[in-house]
Symmetry: C2
């Protein structure tokens, strides 16, 4: 499926746009391709885009001062990624985005997003619901982090994204679960 069709079907799950409206909407997106390992947003960058993943997988993560990595999200096709704090507040990035595999994505500037939201009510509706879902998902993850142990979270992750295990290095899975690489290794070798 090409980029345009993928985005169109993604929108159609939440709102219905006329073909003209969608064409106009789509015209604001810039396609980009990245290689595995490339950095899309690095710590300290000015952030003015968000990204819609077409192909491959990116991760959004934070590096602490002592260089420990914590992963907020793995973004697969039809997922969105950016440092939303930086994007909305204008501050410099504290959350980075890079490529776990070769990646194709569409880039939308924040200015264009706001323009489209102003011009097309249905677009604003779409972005409201997208963020709603993210908000609910983040709260679920907060509860999961607080209330269950690493093993449980690990099984949860496997259930939700079995594919991840094929291509995401284990140290990154660990950084998503909030445990050390060693602990993760012990978990799924049934200690």
């Amino acid at each position: 499926m090409d980029a345009k069709e993928l985005l169109k079907q993604h929108l159609a799950k939440t709102v219905s746009l006329s073909d003209d409206e969608f064409d106009y909407f789509f015209s604001h997106f810039q396609p980009h391709a990245y290689k595995k390992g490339q950095v899309i947003i690095g710590a300290g960058d000015k952030v003015d885009c968000e990204y819609f993943v077409l192909e491959g997988c990116v991760k959004t993560f934070h590096l602490t001062d002592d260089l420990k990595m914590f992963i907020l999200q793995f973004a697969m096709p039809t997922w969105w990624a950016s440092d939303y704090n930086a994007l909305y507040s204008g501050q410099r990035a504290t959350v980075s985005v890079d490529c776990i595999t070769d990646v194709e994505l569409l880039c939308l500037t924040s200015a264009d997003r706001e323009k489209l939201c102003r011009e097309i009510h249905a677009v604003e509706h779409f972005f409201r619901w997208r963020t709603n879902k993210g908000f609910v998902a983040a709260h679920k993850r907060l509860l999961s982090l607080m209330s269950t142990d690493a093993k449980h979270r690990y099984e949860e992750l496997l259930r939700q994204y079995p594919q991840l295990y094929n291509f995401v290095p284990k140290n990154q899975i660990a950084a998503y679960l909030g445990v050390s690489r060693e602990t993760l290794s012990r978990l799924y070798h049934a200690r």
Copy 2:
């Protein structure tokens, strides 16, 4: 300040509505008063409202099967609270809301929220931004939970909400930080 003025000023931080529009918007809210300890949303309830806090403090929390409590949010005046997962998905509540103090709030049904969002573009814009902020805050908290220890999170909380310490029982502060009551006690008595 009365309810209407408080909500009006809250909206005005994000969007500008005409007086007529705001009056119409406001007419969909139901005022309610609750006593300290009262339950607004209980586990298993059908959820069709969200709440705008005018006075007092509510908490949103989850109880695990073995009755451990984990607090997602303390909502003070001008904050919103509900079980957003249940509200958006139509499922039964897994997140409860109850009153830490006597509380006054405004209640908005999900049906009315969606109606208002359809009818007034600026209202949809407002709710998009409200959720944006919540989404970013949730991600910050995720990182804080994953990357820092209980003492650090405790100090963070104190900095952000010094008032909380005056009236929220310590076991609930602990349930917010994701540690046991005993550990919290040891933390701020410098162990």
